[in-house]
C-alpha cells in the first residue's frame, strides 16, 4: 500500500494550548481513513494541518512535517493555493455558494483555469464553455448528484436539500481534480438516508482519491473506513485496520472510548 500522507512529529499550538502533540502517522493512498476521538481531542486540528487550513488562524503555530508526495506542505516555497487544490476539504455543514448549481461546480475550475505547455512555455488559459460543461457533469456524476439535478442546473444551490447540498459541495471539491479529500464530520447535519448516500459515495470515491474523514460516529467509521486512528487529548493513541480497532484494540484507552466507558 502506498502512503499518500505522512505526518511526522506534528505539533499544533493555539497560543500556549498544545492542541496536537507529536502526531506521527501514515495515511494510505486510495483508502478511507477515519479519525475518531472525543470532542477537543485534536482530530479536526489534525486534518486541517493536511491542507494548511490552520494557516488561517492567527494564533496557531504548526511544527513538524506533513509529507504529501515527498514534499512537506509546510515548506515556505510551497504554494498554499496549490496545496488546497490538490487536497480538497468538505465541512460539517453544507456550504454551497449562493449561486446556481452549475456555478457552484464551475466556480473553482474557472478560477484556476487550465495550465498548458505550449511551445515549451507554461501558460494558463480559461476553460471553454464545453470544457466547463463537461467538468460540471463529470463532477456531479461522480458525486452521485447528476441524475437529481441535471434538469435544473440553473437553480440555486441553496434550494437543494441538506444531503444534496453536501453532495454538491463534494462535486465542487471534485471539480478541480484533487488527490486527497478531507471530510470534517460531513454527515453530522444530515438525516440517515442522506448520510447513507454520502457514506456510499465516500467508499466509491476511494477508488480514485485518498479519503480522510473525521467523524463522531464510531459506527460510521466502522462502516466505511479501511483504517481508523483514535485521538485523545491531542495525541494519536492508536491507528490500525478498522476491523482490528473495533474488534480488538491494542490500547486500553481505545477500548474504553469505543465501548463508551470514556469520552
Amino acid at each position: 500500500m502506498t502512503t499518500a500522507i505522512h505526518a511526522e512529529d506534528l505539533n499544533v499550538y493555539f497560543d500556549k494550548n498544545h492542541a496536537l502533540k507529536g502526531v506521527t502517522m501514515d495515511i494510505n493512498k486510495n483508502e478511507v481513513t477515519a479519525v475518531i476521538g472525543p470532542s477537543g481531542c485534536g482530530k479536526s486540528t489534525f486534518i486541517r494541518c493536511i491542507n494548511r487550513m490552520n494557516d488561517l488562524i492567527t494564533n496557531c503555530t504548526v511544527n513538524g512535517k506533513v509529507m504529501v508526495d515527498g514534499t512537506d506542505i509546510n515548506d515556505d516555497d510551497v504554494d498554499v493555493v496549490d496545496v488546497r487544490r490538490r487536497i480538497g476539504m468538505v465541512f460539517q455543514k453544507p456550504n454551497p455558494f449562493p449561486k446556481s448549481i452549475y456555478e457552484n461546480v464551475a466556480y473553482a475550475p474557472r478560477l484556476h483555469g487550465i495550465v498548458e505547455t505550449v511551445d515549451g512555455k507554461v501558460k494558463r488559459r480559461k476553460h471553454t464553455k464545453q470544457e466547463l460543461d463537461a467538468i460540471v457533469e463529470r463532477s456531479l456524476r461522480r458525486a452521485a448528484l447528476w441524475e437529481e439535478v441535471k434538469d435544473r442546473l440553473d437553480k440555486g444551490g441553496m434550494t437543494l436539500s441538506g444531503g444534496q447540498q453536501q453532495r454538491l459541495c463534494i462535486a465542487r471539491t471534485l471539480s478541480i481534480d484533487p488527490e486527497i479529500i478531507l471530510f470534517d464530520e460531513p454527515c453530522s447535519a444530515l438525516d440517515p438516508i442522506a448520510t447513507s448516500k454520502i457514506e456510499d459515495l465516500l467508499v466509491d470515491l476511494k477508488k480514485d482519491y485518498t479519503v480522510v474523514i473525521v467523524t463522531h460516529s464510531m459506527q460510521q467509521a466502522a462502516r466505511i473506513s479501511d483504517r481508523t486512528a483514535f485521538f485523545y487529548m491531542g495525541e494519536m493513541v492508536e491507528m490500525g485496520d478498522t476491523k482490528q480497532i473495533f474488534e480488538k484494540p491494542a490500547r486500553e484507552l481505545t477500548e474504553q472510548y469505543i465501548t463508551g466507558r470514556m469520552g
Binding site: A222, F246, E247, K248, P249, I258, T259, G260, M262
Partner: protein, 245 residues
Amino acid sequence: MVPRATFMHELDILNEEITEMANASKKAIEKAVQMIAENDLTLKDEVRQLDRHIYEMNERIDNHCLDIIALHSPVASDLRMISTCLKMVEDLNRFGRYARDIVELMDDFEEGKAFKRFESLRTMACLVVGLVDDAVYSFLQRDAEKASHLHERDDAVDSLYDTIFREVLTYMMEDPRKITVGIDLILVARYMERVADHACNIGEYVYHMVTGERLDPTKRTGHVEPVVACKLFDHPSPRTELDEK
C-alpha cells in the same frame, strides 16, 4: 454518572442471566450424575424441571442479546461478551438436554444399579462434572487460563468413553441378556462425552472473549490438571460458592 449507563445496566442483567443459566445447567448435569451414582430416582423430576428452566433461559438470553446488539451497537470486548453469551446458551441448553436424556434412560430401569457398580462410568462422570464446573467457572471469573486447558481434560473423557464402549461391548457379547442395559450404559457414556465437548466449546468462547484470540482446539500444552480423588458423590455441587454469584 456512569457513561452509557443503560447499556452497562443491560450487560449486568445479561451477566446475571447467563450466570443463572450456567448454574442451572451445571446443577442438571450434577443431579443426573448423582442419580446414576446413587440410583436415586427421586432426582428425576428435579432434572426435568431444571431442563425446562434452562430452555426458557436460553430463549430469554438469546432475545436479550439480540436486543442489546440492535439497540446499543456493542464493539470490542462488549461485542465478544455478547457473542459468547449467544453461543454459550446453546451449549448450556445441551447440558440440560443431555442431563434429561440421562435420567430418562434410568426411567423404570430395574437394573439401574448396574450404573452404580460401573466404576469407569463413575470416573467419567466425575471428570465431566469437573469440566462443566470449570467451564462455567472460567466464564464467571473471565479465566482464560482455565478455559484454555479444558480440551486436554476432554481427551481423558474421550479415552474413557472408548474404554467403556469396549468394556460394555464385551459384556454384551458374553451375555445377550445384558444388551439392553449395555446399550443404555453406552448411551449414558456417550451423552457425558458430548457434555464434555460442549464444556470445551464454552472454554473456547471464554478464551476468545477474554483475550480476543482464538484458541486452537488441536493444540495441547501437556498441562493437564490432576484428577484428584473424586468426591463428587459426597459433594454433588463441587463449587457451590458460584451459585451465590
